[in-house]
């Protein structure tokens, strides 16, 4: 099987000795017209992969900031079909940047897992991260995702046992998403020495690249994480910025760029 856009990107980064910067925003937050320009701005700021949130009404593994982002998007009329439309629109001007859709299972079940995977692949989606679908609960989504060449990205946590880590490593393609805190998205403290130890430990059990998320707020955080992991995932700080500018959405793309550019620089300098 030919390697996916995500795998190619991670491979290229590895060859050039660089680390990935992976921003996360919620599709349709606060309105659908903002998302495509925001994605392009994110790429200009140096993003390697974009994680795009599929809003869900009950995101019980997310923190309050991301939950409010999802609520704004749903109130703005965003749907799962709308998320795929955003991706197609983005693909008109960018055929290189891998896109991972991140969200919860129920909207996918409502559309039908097979129909969803087919439509996602057609829209130009590269990977899926379904927060509430651990490897134990894999259903027809996994087979359909494989059929349509979509990578499946899974989470690992500080509390994940070695046995589970190996199973998750086998199920994951693209990259493994390491949740750097015990708390959930948007919690405040990032303990770098702890993260490096865990990343080193996980590398004994999984072969895919390891990207770290949940808790990266500053350029220093991103640089520190990149010194040990293969990539930094940045979400809450961006969604907070979108929230602050919800009344002036035209300013959102540049504001996101302004957060990400120093992160990119810090990552590349330290890397």
């Amino acid at each position: 099987m030919s390697s996916s856009r995500i795998q190619q990107r991670m491979e290229a980064l590895k060859i050039s000795g660089r680390k990935a910067l992976i921003p996360y925003i919620v599709a349709g937050d606060p309105m659908s017209t903002v998302t495509v320009p925001a994605m392009h701005a994110i790429v200009e700021a140096g993003a390697d992969i974009i994680e795009l949130g599929m809003p869900f009404s009950d995101p019980f593994a997310d923190g309050p900031v991301n939950q409010r982002g999802a609520e704004r998007a749903i109130n703005g009329g965003m749907t799962l079909a709308g998320v795929l439309k955003v991706v197609s629109e983005f693909r008109k001007d960018d055929n290189d940047t891998p896109i991972v859709l991140m969200g919860y299972l129920n909207p996918l079940l409502a559309m039908g897992e097979i129909i969803f995977c087919e439509a996602a692949a057609r829209a130009g989606v590269d990977g899926l991260l379904i927060v509430d679908m651990p490897p134990e609960e894999e259903g027809s989504l996994v087979q359909s995702a494989k059929t349509h060449g979509l990578d499946l990205i899974y989470l690992a946590a500080p509390t994940t046992t070695d046995e589970r880590l190996r199973a998750i490593g086998r199920a994951t393609s693209g990259y493994l998403y390491y949740v750097s805190l015990k708390g959930i998205t948007g919690s405040s403290k990032l303990d770098i020495s702890d993260v490096s130890q865990r990343v080193a430990h996980m590398r004994q059990h999984v072969s895919v690249p390891i990207c770290v998320g949940f808790g990266i707020r500053t350029a220093q955080d991103a640089a520190a994480v990149s010194s040990t992991a293969d990539g930094s995932i940045v979400g809450t700080v961006l969604v907070s910025q979108v929230e602050a500018l919800a009344d002036q959405p035209e300013k959102i793309p540049n504001a996101l760029k302004a957060i990400l550019e120093p992160m990119r620089q810090a990552i590349d300098t330290n890397g």
Partner: protein, 408 residues
Amino acid sequence: MALKEQELRTLDYEPDTGGHFGDYGGRYVSETLMAALNELDQNYRKLKNDPGFKCEFDADLAYFVGRPSPLYHAERWSKTVGGAQIYFKREDLNHTGAHKVNNTIGQALLAKYSGKPRVIAETGAGQHGVASATVAARLGLECVVYMGADDVERQSPNVYRMKLLGAEVVPVESGSRTLKDALNEAMRDWVTNVDNTFYIIGTVAGPSPYPQLVRDFNAVVGREVKWQSREIFGKYPDALVACVGGGSNAIGLFYPFLRDTEVAIYGVEAAGRGLSTNEHAAPLCSGRPGVLHGAKTYLMDNSDGQIAHTHSVSAGLDYPGVGPEHAYLKDIGRAKYVGATDEEALAAFHEISQVEGIIPALETAHALAYTKKLAASMQPDQTIVCNMSGRGDKDIFTVARMEGISLT
């Protein structure tokens, strides 16, 4: 797929090792919760057959809760209805006034035996919060209850009760400021503090092993009905009726009877303003399978898979999902799920107060409303046991308000 009677008589009705009841249940959660759930699962498997644990649980049920609760013949009401003999399983007479305490005692003991000095709970109307605060006080555990900020305002007597019992009540400002937001916040707390904290979930919903362990703690209800019905009328009842929100009182009554297929089983959901409107809380009657709060089950969502807003006059039934075992019992045809509207429930609330001298909880009133219909279609030598799951003192303000009466 409905099963044949012979199959229903021989099933073991236990979930598989992954916590699946047929297609339903399981553990649809983020990896961040997995270790905590695995630990709980292991502790529960170890303790449920531990003689010390069982002995302490039984003793608390007897001396702290006041079990067994009576099986009471509602003679006057049976006569009025003019059909089957109706019996009430009097869970309303338990300490704290509902079946909820059976479960919170079990889980608080699990916390104690697992060495967790702190318990947390989510609550909507406050009943589960009060039951959790009660047992935490009894066992000397620290207790934090998460409650939607809107609910904190609406349910001030229960907030005060929890504080009297020594619990900390945390108002949750996020989202819709109601039960589901309280649940999210409790999950966040648990994930962060799992080393010293036990999460007491209030119903048979949620990820495995909660649906199973909450059922097991409530199953004392059905076990008592088995010997009480034999003692009182010489056989098992012809039918069981209970209200279903998340479904813990119902499964507690139903579970010991599942293989006794001569006993018909009815779960009554909140039909709100009618099942043909969108204003109800009846996922089994008119929802579809999906995934919510860690389990695959029937739920109410829109065409895009977003969880729907629900409506019921009863806060305890106002939930868009349902315990996965009920979803399974529906599909295999072992239990039948029906609805009772707000109006029907309110009528039953008044009728039972006046005919039997028992003010039932509004949740329970849904079961009573259906019991009346069912009894009328049966013969006087037949029997129905309806679970009187809670008392209605907490609801008098709601009912008075709806009738334009101000109680100050």
